[in-house]
C-alpha cells in the first residue's frame, strides 16, 4: 500500500530524516513512536505531500508522491496535531466545506455527513460553532472530516494529545474501529497508546528508524528474556535453588522475600519454559500461591533504544 524508500529531509542544514525506508500494507495500524523532535511529524508531512522530500521516494498504491500527488491526496485523510480548524464556522458548515473541496457531489454529501457524524458521535453538535467545542469534541470533528471521503489511508498526528483519559479511550476505540477497514498511520510519544492501538510499531530516533515490528516481536527481540514471579508456600530458598540448578535455561534465581514458610522468588529465563518449571514444582509438595510471567513493556525497549549515546 505505502512504500517509503531512503526518505531524507533537510530543513536548511538540519537533517530531520536520514534515509528511512519502510512498507505499510493494507489494513495495518502503524504507530510511529519516538521522543519529541525525532522526525515523526516530518515523516507524516512528507507522506501527505505537505512537504517535499530532499531525496528518496514515496509510493502510495501505484502512485508516486511527486507526479501523482493529487491522486494520493484524494485517497488520503490527514489530521494534523491539535486539529487546526476554522473557529468561526459551524461543525456542519466545516464538514460540507471539506466535502465540497474533496469533490463529493451535493446529493451524497448530506448522507455522508450524517454517517460520519453517527460514527464519530457528533450528531448533536452539528450546529455548534467549532470555536465553542471542547478538545475531545474537536478531535472527533477532525476525525469526521477526514473520514468524509472514505479514504483508504488515514494519517493522524498525535491524535490523543491534550485529551482527558476517558476521551483518550474513546478516540482509541474509534481509531481501532476505523483500522479494521483502512490503513492507519499515527504518531505518538505515548507508549501505552501505541501498544493499545497499533498492530505494528516503528520507533524513530534522531531521524532514523531504530526498531520496526509488532509490539510482541519487539519485546522478544529487544528483551529476549522472560521473567517469572513465583510465590511458594512450604518451601525454603535453598531447596528451590537446588531443584532448579540443573536447568540451563534459567539465568538467575533471585530471592525477593522469605517470610514464615512462604517464599517469593524471581526467575530470569532465556526463553519461556513455564511448563517445565511447573512440572518440577508439581513433583514437590510446595503450594503455589503465585506463578506469573512479568509483563515487559515497550517502555523499556523504547528507553533502551532511544537513550543510547
Amino acid at each position: 500500500m505505502i512504500e517509503v524508500k531512503d526518505l531524507t529531509k533537510y530543513y536548511n542544514k538540519f537533517l530531520a530524516l536520514d534515509k528511512i525506508s519502510f512498507k505499510v500494507s493494507r489494513g495495518e495500524i502503524v504507530g510511529l513512536l519516538g521522543p519529541n523532535g525525532a522526525g515523526k511529524t516530518t515523516t507524516l508531512r512528507l507522506l501527505t505531500g505537505y512537504l517535499k522530500p530532499t531525496s528518496g521516494s514515496i509510493k502510495v498504491k501505484k502512485y508516486n508522491i511527486i507526479d501523482d500527488y493529487l491522486k494520493i491526496k484524494a485517497i488520503m485523510g490527514y489530521l494534523p496535531e491539535s486539529v487546526p480548524i476554522y473557529k468561526n464556522l459551524m461543525v456542519y458548515e466545516y464538514l460540507s466545506y471539506v466535502g465540497a473541496i474533496r469533490g463529493i457531489d451535493k446529493k451524497n454529501l448530506l448522507s455522508k455527513i450524517k454517517s460520519v457524524a453517527n460514527r464519530c458521535q457528533i450528531k448533536d453538535i452539528l450546529e455548534k460553532d467549532i470555536g465553542d467545542l471542547s478538545k475531545g469534541l474537536l478531535q472527533r470533528v477532525g476525525l469526521a472530516s477526514v473520514l468524509l471521503h472514505d479514504p483508504e489511508v488515514l494519517i493522524l498526528d498525535e491524535p490523543t494529545t491534550g485529551l482527558d483519559p476517558n476521551q483518550i479511550l474513546e478516540i482509541r476505540d474509534l481509531i481501532k474501529e476505523i483500522g479494521k477497514k483502512k490503513t492507519v498511520i499515527l504518531s505518538s510519544h505515548i507508549l501505552s497508546e501505541v501498544e493499545a492501538t497499533c498492530s505494528r510499531v516503528i520507533i524513530i530516533n534522531k531521524g532514523k528508524i531504530v526498531a520496526d515490528g509488532t509490539p510482541s516481536e519487539l519485546k522478544e527481540k529487544y528483551l529476549g528474556k522472560t521473567i517469572i514471579n513465583l510465590s511458594l508456600k512450604k518451601a525454603n530458598f535453598d531447596q528451590v535453588k537446588n531443584c532448579f540448578q540443573g536447568i540451563e535455561e534459567i539465568i538467575a534465581i533471585n530471592l525477593i522475600e522469605e517470610k514464615d514458610d512462604t517464599l517469593d522468588i524471581e526467575l530470569t529465563l532465556k526463553n519461556d519454559i513455564r511448563e517445565k518449571i511447573y512440572n518440577i514444582i508439581k513433583q514437590r509438595d510446595w503450594i503455589i500461591l503465585e506463578f506469573s510471567k512479568k509483563k515487559t513493556s515497550l517502555e523499556k525497549i523504547f528507553k533502551e533504544i532511544t537513550t543510547e549515546n
Binding site: 476554522y86 464556522l89 466545506y97 471539506v98 469533490g103
Partner: protein
C-alpha cells in the same frame, strides 16, 4: 477548477461571520465619505472627482487590512496544513482566496453608490465617468488585494502582512507624486508603474485598454509571486 468555489465560499463566510469585515467596511465608508462631503459643497460640482482622487490612498490601508488574514491566519492556526493536503492544486487555493477577496471588494464598494445617487438628486451628474470610475475602483481594489494576498503568504504574523501589503500599495499609489524633480523620461516610465496614474484615467471617464492591462498585470505578477512564496514553504 470546481474546487475553487468551496475555498472562496469558506473565506467569504469567514469574513462576514466575524465583526472585522463590517468594521473595515464602515471605516472605509466613513473615511471616503468624510473626505468627499467635506469638500463637496465648497467645490459646488456634481462629480465624484474628490472621492476617486483619494481612493488609491484609502485603499492602500483598507485592502491590506482585509487581505492580511488570508494566508497568515491559516499559517498561524495551522489549518494551512489541512488545506495544502486536500487534493487541490496550489493555484486553485490562490484563486479561491483571490475570488473571495474580489467579492469582498465588490461588497465594500457597493454602499458608496450612495454618494453618486444622492448627488444625482441635487445636481446634474454625468453617469459616464462615475460608472467608468467604479470599474477603475474595482480593478484598483482587486489588484491591491492580490498584493495583500502575496504579503499574507509571506508571514504568519497578520500585522507584518498588513504592513508589507500597505507599503507596496502606498508605493504604487504615490509613485507618480514622488517624481517632481526627475527628468522627463524617468517620469514617464515611473508614471506607467504608478497605480494612481492609471486609476485617474478611469475616474476622468477615460476607458483605455492599456489601463486595464496594467491592473491585470499587477494581479498576475502578485498572484504568481504568491504561488512562488507558497511553493517555497515546502
Amino acid at each position: 477548477m470546481q474546487r475553487i468555489f468551496p475555498i472562496c465560499l469558506k473565506d467569504l463566510k469567514d469574513y462576514f461571520y466575524s465583526p472585522i469585515a463590517y468594521i473595515i467596511i464602515s471605516i472605509f465608508i466613513l473615511i471616503s465619505g468624510w473626505f468627499f462631503f467635506s469638500t463637496f459643497f465648497i467645490l459646488n460640482q456634481a462629480s465624484l472627482r474628490d472621492f476617486f482622487e483619494l481612493l488609491p490612498i484609502t485603499m492602500s490601508f483598507i485592502v491590506p487590512a482585509i487581505t492580511m488574514r488570508s494566508f497568515s491566519e491559516e499559517f498561524s492556526i495551522g489549518s494551512y496544513e489541512i488545506l495544502a493536503t486536500f487534493p487541490v492544486k496550489l493555484n486553485d487555493i490562490i484563486f479561491g482566496k483571490f475570488l473571495a477577496l474580489c467579492c469582498f471588494i465588490f461588497f465594500m464598494l457597493l454602499p458608496t453608490l450612495f454618494f453618486p445617487i444622492s448627488i444625482s438628486f441635487i445636481g446634474n451628474l454625468d453617469w459616464g465617468p462615475v460608472i467608468c470610475g467604479y470599474i477603475g475602483a474595482f480593478l484598483l481594489g482587486i489588484s491591491y488585494a492580490s498584493i495583500g494576498l502575496f504579503a499574507s503568504s509571506l508571514t504568519k504574523n497578520q500585522i507584518n502582512a498588513f504592513i508589507i501589503g500597505s507599503l507596496i500599495c502606498i508605493l504604487l499609489s504615490l509613485m507618480d507624486k514622488l517624481l517632481l524633480f526627475m527628468p522627463e523620461s524617468v517620469v514617464t516610465f515611473f508614471n506607467y508603474l504608478s497605480s494612481n496614474f492609471h486609476f485617474q484615467n478611469f475616474s476622468k471617464g477615460l476607458f483605455d485598454i492599456r489601463d486595464v492591462i496594467y491592473f491585470f498585470s499587477i494581479i498576475f505578477i502578485f498572484l504568481y509571486a504568491t504561488n512562488i512564496s507558497l511553493s517555497y514553504r515546502k
